[in-house]
Every structure is written in structure tokens, then in C-alpha cells.
Symmetry: C2
Subunit: 434 residues, 2 copies
């Protein structure tokens, strides 16, 4: 089937899905939950094939780990995720504005699904369950395109989902699972039928998608996060936060990549802070002005900063370190070099913190807390669609809300514009909140 | 100056503008207001040159009318608009979510400006004042590119604005007015520095911009609005609404372009409804099944519907008319053919109305009210950035809110992820609303 045909079917299914009740949508999720649970063994068998393929191809161990659905607790938590989403409050039809325009003429702004989502992801097969749940709950159609690494798992799970939906009010074309052979480029051209693309995977994947579609893309290519350590700082907090931000999960987009240190901090304190990183096996890429300060540290973990050291996402146990003059210099540096994901200031001075919080143009701005907190689960959103570095629509960790739009409903009784001021006559608008 | 240099300067100015207080931003608007007021005569003189040029070139009278700042009340209402925006409540820094993540670790979602706006408009010179006010009030930088028709007015006004800003806290590069010679294509490439493009003008302008930039575009190309007249309808309301929607301002994007009539309505009533349009000098483009019904009407205003009659924006005293089987048929037709701007149902049946309100996938869905109400002023938003048919970010008539984004601020006291569940240890999150 062509990309256009797939997208058109998704769009038609959306029209049906849009009018279902919350109960009907949640029941479909419960059905999917049950079917996946029943077919656990066939899913894990298919997953085993994918794992064997991945090992045969010598894929990175981090990728293999992400692929593995048999990891303790992973399958069950995938299933539980579906029920959790089913039990969330209905995101559709919430009235977020109600205004009396005139007697008998009332305006309502009501939350509504966006339409058709195209979700492209790489290895993690549990994304199928997660995104299917989020899409159905929010009343959106979804076209899911998985990576070739999880092809076998994907094929089995997609059949189970399709069969499960056949028994529900949700049209089966509301969730279409496209196998690896299908042409993504063709789907990325369907801006007439597809409203939002959500890529979940490497920054190469996201960057490639962003430059090949007119459809809005929700996500982030890079996560170049920074920490600035102010002159007035607590060394214990600083070491804890810097080490956690770097080492808790270095491959995460919310891991810190740059450490900016106020130049007025005593050399011994700077050295201690960098030592905490080196002791945690982090390679520090130091700017020239710091070299003499770190010469006593284990030189296996100390290298010179490259020219692009401050425009780079390592995704590994590496960090770039430099001095800055003061908080303003740090702000300038971050606003120029960051990917607008998450930045942190470590300071005991509230005024300095507030200036930083106000000035930084990123989705997340932290004061004395690890950048690793930038995550939908940690923010308490229950579930996460992704993390967005866009500056319009959803920003930062995106929960179910990010899949919602709104519509204006105007209810009148024969009202016409021609009678009002600006429209030809003199009737005035009331404009009162209801 | 190159597009890149202009965009970069706007971006640098944004960093300064972002931290100004509401008072500082509003004071800059008052300064601009005073300067424009003082220089009224030189502005109107320049405007006269533009008008003479337009007349010499035989431009459409509707365009000339839009160009003319000397129209009674227009200059004063332009000035008043600046003060109105200055007096709006501060859109920056509103806390829209506050959550305790754990003891001493609090998350806030705070409204923030988007960044750098590129506004491209055609004739109306008052857009300069309007957009300058909106941009500064919301803390966004703006690059304004006017049409060649208003070049003289634009040049004078832009100098006045620049000089006025020199005396304020708003950096002068926060508002850059680009003359017609500058290359728009070059600016549309600056997705690194420009966050949102707002085109205000013809659908050709908008369509052209949408297909030539990776930057998100806020606006609408077409306004193909529909009215569906249900079997259970009030003929008086129907005539009033249909005639107002078509004739109140046919060039508006919120004017109706398609009339869908339930086929079960008596022929005489259908004829009366269409007669009301013909009596208002509207040319009705009728589908074949309606031809015999309208044969007694003034045939100067009755023509056959073309093949593309239901995918077309007339922007004139023309309307396409056809029968539909029922409300579901109308919904299907609209979801396929509309531009997702504004659609209306005329019915006395609440259930039918609710089905329509729930099923239509457009920014505005009206029950017994003219489509011409789709407008920021009529909605009570005070001012209007434009009307958006996008499905993400802002939708429908967009007020100041549409120029806002948000950021997450997390305030901790040395908190690290490694101690929490999911991060390596077992501490639980609190996730309580503050």
C-alpha cells in the first residue's frame, strides 16, 4: 500500500475515533492489554529472533539491551503501562475557556485530539504498546513505523494489536503498523493527512526526519545540557549533581555534556569538583585555562577540549569543562551553544539563580538539581510521549497533553456579525467569562 | 545585511528582551505610541505616496482601501491598539503548573516568549504598529517584512519605531523592519535563529511561505468555510446566518464558501433560502440536483457548480450549494473538503448539533451562528495575531497567548536522580500539586 493510501486510511479512521467516548477508548486498551498478555510467549519468541539477529550483526550492547523484552520486569511493565494510560482521566473534551459573547451566544474552547500521528522509532519494541495506548486514549490515529532491529517482535505484536481492535469500537485502521519495507519518505510527504511526526530514537534519526518533512515534528535531535557552577556554591551539592547528571545514564538526552565553572572559584575547589568526575571514570575535556589545575588528576581521564567540544553531544562518560566569567557569561554561552533541552545552575545565591532561571532559553532550567530529572515520569506526567526541544506546541518532557489540540465551539441562536460593532451596526459584545 | 546576520541580531536582542519586566516592555510601547502620534503628518504623507503609486498601477480598490491610513479613524485606532496591548496583563512568567516532586524539589511550568518571530505581511501598514506592540509585550523579537505596496509608509514608520526604542530598555534590534529589497527566501532559511513565521496576507503569500521554510508557520492559507442546514431548521435563522456569513465581508477568510442542504428539506424552503442569497447579489454555484429548484430565481445569479466548486475559496459574492443526505454526510463532506477553519450547523435539534460539534475536525465549529464570528476581536481576545488552521500550537483566532511558549523550572537543593526509583535506588516521588 502506498504512503498516501495508508495516511488517508488513518485520517478516515481518525474521524471515527474522534467521536468515541472515553469508556470506548479505554475498553479498547484493556482488550489490547489482555491480548498481549495472552500472547506473551509468542512475542518473546519473536523477540528472541530479533536478539539473535542483533548479536549476529554485532550491534552495540546498549542497543541489544533496549531490544530485549525478556529483561526482568520489562514485559509486565509494558503491559501495566497500557492499563495506566487506560485509567488516566479523559483528555478529550475538557473545556479550557468559556465565554459569553452576547445573550444566547457562548464560546467554548474544548480539548480535542490532533488527528493523525506518524511515530517512527528504532529499537525498543515496547514503544508499540506505549504509543498505541497513548494514541487511542487521546483519540488520535497513529501510523507506527518500527526499526528493522525489532522487526520480528514488531510483526507479532502488530498482528495481536490489529486482532484485538477488531473486537472494539476503535476502527482497526486507527493504529496501522507499517513494516520496515514500507517507504518512510513517502509517509513524510503526506502532510495533507498526517498532522504530527514523533520520532523516537537516535539524534541521526530525528535530524534526518526533521529535514525531510513539512509535517511538524515533536522531539529533540540533540540534548546538549549544561551545568553552571556559580562562585557562591556548595561543593557537596555540586559534586553530587554534576556526577549524577553525567553518570546516571550517559546515553540519555538529559545527561550533562558541558560544565561551566565560575573563574573566581578557588583552584582547589575546582580541582575537587573535576576529581569527582574523574573518580567516576568520566573523561574530562578541559579548556586550556583549566589544564594546570587538573595536572595532578589521573591523566587517563583528562584530555584537551576539541574545537567543537562545546557544541557536541557525547552520550558517553565524557564532559567538556571550561571557565566562565560570571553568571551572565554562562547564560550567553548556554543560549548560544545549548540545544535548548535542560540547563542547571548550582548556586546558593537566590538572585543569581533567578537571573539564570529567567534568562535561559531552554525547555528546562534547574537550580541545584540534576539534569537527569528532565523526564515525564519524574515530572509526574504518568507517561511520556517524548522530550521536545521545539519552541511551539509542547516543550520539554511531553505527556498525554502534548497529543492534544483544541477547538472553539460557538453556540448561538441565529446570531449574525452584521448587527455588531465592527460588523456594520452598533451592538456591543458582552465578553464575560462563564 | 544578510538574512543570517539579521536573524542572529534578532536572536541576541531576544536574550535581552526576555529578562525585561512588564513595566519596561509596556513603557517601550507607550514611547512608540507617542512617537507615532507626533509624526502622524509625515506618516500620512508617506502613505499618500504609496496610495498614488497603487492608483497609478491600477491595483484593486480593495487593496488600495487596505493601504489607506487616512481612512477615518484608522490612524487613531492603530495608535489606540498599541496602548491596548500595553495595558494587557503580563503574559510572561505565569505559573501554569506547580508540583512538589519531593521534599525541597519543586517543579513549575512558567509561560515564556517563543523567541524570534518573522512576520511577513502585504499591504496594511498598521500591521507594523500592531505586531510591534504584540511582540514587545510578549517578550519576543520580531523581524517585520512589509509588502512593496506600503513601502513608503513602512520606511517612515520603521524609522520612527527604531528611534523611539533607542530611548527604552528594549534593544533596538528586538524589532527589525526589513525593506522590500531584502531577501525573504534568505530569512526563511534561518531556522537556527527564527522560531516562528507569521504571514499576514493573501493565501498565495501563505502557501508560498509554507512550502519554502522549515520554520513553523502560524496562519492559514485557505478559509473554505461551510454551513450545513439540517432538516430540522429555522428558516429565519438560516437565511440570516447564511447571508451574513457570505456577504458581511466576502474577502474575509471566515466568509462561508459552501452551503450543504439536507435533501429532506421541502423544495420551497430550499428555494427561499437560496433566494435570500440571490437577493443579496450572491452568485450561487449549484450542484446538478438543485438546478430545477432554482430555475425561477434571477438567473443572473445562478450558475452550474464547477468540478472544483467544493474545494475552492471564492473570497467574493459566490457560494457553492449542494444537497447532502444527512448530518453524517455533511460531516464527511466537510472533513474531506474544508480547510479546517470554521464550519457551522443550522439546526433546532440539540443531538444533531452535538454530533456535528463533536465530529468536525476544524478550528471553529458553530451552531446557529455566522461563520464571521471567527475573529480575535469578536472572541474577546482584545487583539489578534492571526487565524491559524494549524493543528498544533495555536488554533483558530490567535491572541497574545499564541506568541507564548512555556519553560519548566525545577528548584532543588542538591537533588540527584540516582537516589530515586528508576534511577538506581528506591526513593519515591511525591508528585503533589502545590
Amino acid at each position: 500500500m502506498s504512503g498516501e493510501a495508508i495516511a488517508k486510511e488513518a485520517n478516515t479512521a481518525f474521524a471515527q475515533l474522534k467521536v468515541l467516548t472515553n469508556t470506548e477508548r479505554s475498553q479498547a486498551l484493556e482488550k489490547i492489554y489482555k491480548s498481549l498478555k495472552e500472547h506473551k510467549s509468542s512475542i518473546l519468541e519473536a523477540n528472541k529472533l530479533d536478539l539473535e539477529n542483533a548479536k549476529a550483526k554485532n550491534l552495540a550492547s546498549s542497543l541489544i539491551k533496549r531490544l530485549d523484552l525478556a529483561n526482568p520486569g520489562k514485559f509486565d511493565s509494558m503491559l501495566q503501562g497500557i492499563l495506566d494510560v487506560a485509567n488516566l482521566s479523559d483528555p478529550v473534551g475538557k473545556v479550557t475557556l468559556a465565554k459569553k459573547i452576547d445573550e444566547g451566544l457562548n464560546l467554548y474552547r474544548v480539548t480535542a485530539p490532533i488527528g493523525v500521528l506518524l511515530i517512527i522509532f528504532e529499537s525498543r519494541p515496547e514503544v508499540i504498546a506505549n504509543i498505541t495506548a497513548l494514541a487511542i486514549k487521546s483519540g488520535n490515529s497513529a501510523i507506527l513505523k518500527g526499526g528493522k532491529e525489532s522487526y520480528q517482535t514488531f510483526k507479532v505484536m502488530s498482528n495481536i494489536v490489529s486482532e484485538a481492535l477488531a473486537d472494539t469500537k476503535v476502527p482497526s485502521k486507527a493504529i496501522q503498523l507499517i513494516e520496515s519495507r514500507e517507504d518512510v519518505a513517502d509517509l513524510l510527504d503526506q502532510d495533507k493527512y498526517i498532522d504530527l511526526v514523533i520520532p523516537r530514537g537516535s539524534n541521526e534519526l530525528v535530524r534526518n526526519i526533521k529535514s525531510n518533512t513539512k509535517i511538524p515534528v515533536l522531539g529533540h535531535a540533540d540534548g546538549i545540557c549544561s551545568i553552571y557552577v556559580d562562585a557562591n556554591f556548595d561543593p557537596v551539592k555540586a559534586s553530587r549533581i554534576v556526577v549524577d547528571s553525567k553518570t546516571n545514564y550517559p546515553a540519555g538526552c538529559n545527561a550533562v555534556e558541558q560544565l561551566l565553572i565560575n573563574k573566581d572559584i578557588a583552584g582547589s575547589e575546582v580541582k575537587n569538583l573535576i576529581k569527582a568526575l574523574v573518580d567516576s571514570k568520566v573523561t574530562v575535556h578541559v579548556a586550556p585555562e583549566l589544564k594546570s589545575l587538573v595536572k595532578d588528576l589521573n591523566q587517563d581521564y583528562v584530555v584537551d577540549a576539541d574545537d567543537d567540544a562545546f557544541d557536541k553531544e557525547y552520550l558517553s562518560l565524557d564532559i567538556s569543562v571550561k571557565f566562565v566569567d560570571d553568571v551572565r557569561d554562562a547564560i550567553d554561552h548556554i543560549n548560544k551553544h545549548s540545544s535548548k533541552h535542560t540547563e542547571c545552575i548550582i548556586t546558593e545565591n537566590e538572585d543569581t539563580a533567578n537571573l539564570f532561571l529567567k534568562s535561559i532559553d531552554s525547555a528546562g532550567i534547574y537550580w541545584n538539581a540534576s539534569t537527569r530529572f528532565a523526564d515525564g515520569f519524574r515530572y509526574g506526567f504518568g507517561t511520556e510521549v517524548g522530550i521536545s526541544t521545539n519552541k511551539i506546541h509542547a516543550r520539554g518532557p511531553v505527556g498525554l497533553e502534548g497529543l492534544m489540540s483544541y477547538q472553539y465551539q460557538l453556540k448561538g441562536d441565529g446570531h449574525i456579525v452584521g448587527e455588531y460593532v465592527g460588523g456594520g451596526r452598533n451592538k456591543l459584545f458582552v465578553h464575560e467569562d462563564i
